[in-house]
Symmetry: C2
């Protein structure tokens, strides 16, 4: 039984993910937005590295068939339907829609994890649901990787803390779960902040930047535990709720 935490997808090699379940964490804000969108009825979220790629795809699918969403340097993208604020992804807006989401760090991490046995998108807002799935994987001797997306190639406190909460939940009552140093460090961070997830996010550089840019409500949204029970899985180039992926 094994859990590894890696920081940043740029260093990931195929050997790091092959045959494993990979949980991608981008707490502020892509992971949280994806959970909110799917829990509120979006049919799928398709991740893109750049807005140009998303726009090109929207033209192929038909502009009316999709919602263009995402951010560039925290701000909504001109001409897009939605930003990257999870609170925007209400049932009224997203029910039945396919969302083309541009978000550099989270999208890069999901795409870098291709080749994994399963890829799930993890955050605080769907913590217990995803933790149960990862715990089942570890118990059945499938190795788990938690991939912290980070921000502009850098380690982020909020992704590490969230990863640590998953590590601790998976280890609980299980003996002999091997971890790498990243997992050990993340568990320490989660233990330090405990239930005060809001404080963790407020202490993080990106949380402070979002609050400074007027996105304080988003930070609060992302710090809320178990708002949703959706397990978003990446399959065939799109992210869908677990249970609908292999119809």
């Amino acid at each position: 039984m094994r859990i590894d935490v890696f920081f940043g997808y740029q260093q990931l090699t195929p050997a790091d993910v092959t045959g494993r379940v990979v949980a991608v964490v981008d707490v502020l804000r892509a992971s949280t937005t994806i959970a909110a969108a799917l829990a509120n009825g979006a049919r799928a979220v398709v991740p893109f590295l750049t807005s140009d790629d998303a726009v090109a795809q929207s033209k192929q699918l038909g502009r009316e068939a999709v919602l263009l969403a995402g951010e560039q340097k925290m701000l909504p993208i001109p001409g897009f339907d939605l930003g990257n604020s999870p609170g925007e992804f209400t049932p009224e807006r997203v029910q039945g829609k396919t969302i083309l989401l541009t978000t550099t760090n989270g999208s890069g991490a999901v795409l870098a994890a291709q080749g994994a046995r399963d890829i799930v998108v993890a955050s605080y807002v769907n913590f217990s649901a995803v933790a149960a799935m990862l715990r089942a994987a570890v118990r059945s001797e499938t190795e788990v990787v938690i991939l912290c997306s980070g921000h502009e190639r850098r380690f982020t406190l909020e992704d590490a803390g969230c990863a640590g909460r998953y590590v601790r939940a998976i280890q609980k009552d299980l003996n002999g779960v091997a971890t790498n140093d990243g997992a050990t460090a993340c568990a320490l961070i989660d233990r330090k902040y405990g239930e005060n997830i809001a404080k963790l996010l407020q202490d993080s550089n990106h949380g402070q930047a979002l609050i400074g840019a007027g996105f304080g409500d988003d930070v609060g949204f992302c710090a809320t535990l178990d708002s949703f029970s959706v397990v978003p899985v990446y399959h065939d180039r799109q992210i869908v709720p677990l249970g609908t992926s292999r119809l």
Copy 2:
């Protein structure tokens, strides 16, 4: 006033280091070995990424003029004079010698930091001496970067914990020192282990591997605080004690 901690040198850009003082940390074992060698009278340590490069340089300088030292996958390199065990670098062996040191992670980090205002090599064994130098830099408004070498492109607990000890020493009694998320996380790790540095190193993946390979004494050596007061600085392609670098 600012301290940033970065994990891994592969992601470092010139903008990350230009005009800053960069402290390179590779606790197990290169930073510790370099401190021991210089404190025990070596004239200089020249870092190399590969043993072939070190051997080529030894031929240029004359094989008798130098000591070849270093490791490949923890083990001494055939034909070399010394491994990478800091305890080998006694005054009897190293006094007055130039040491050509092959050690992938530590050498890579030092070379990646070129362009910095100053590059120092930091570890536990010369903690207080290096911390005083970094603290003076921060007080004089020079930004400090602590670069954790990591191991085979990965985050390592021992480098992060050591970096955290430096962060906390620099911040002490100083208000308004800005930090990145890496520095915040490292400070948490150091606070958690406190004075039990041996436990931190034993908990780390690389510490466990070294102990398993029979290098337990090295791990103990690397966990000892303030054995030396040397400040190793990288200047003109070699590492020398501060005070002798600009003669």
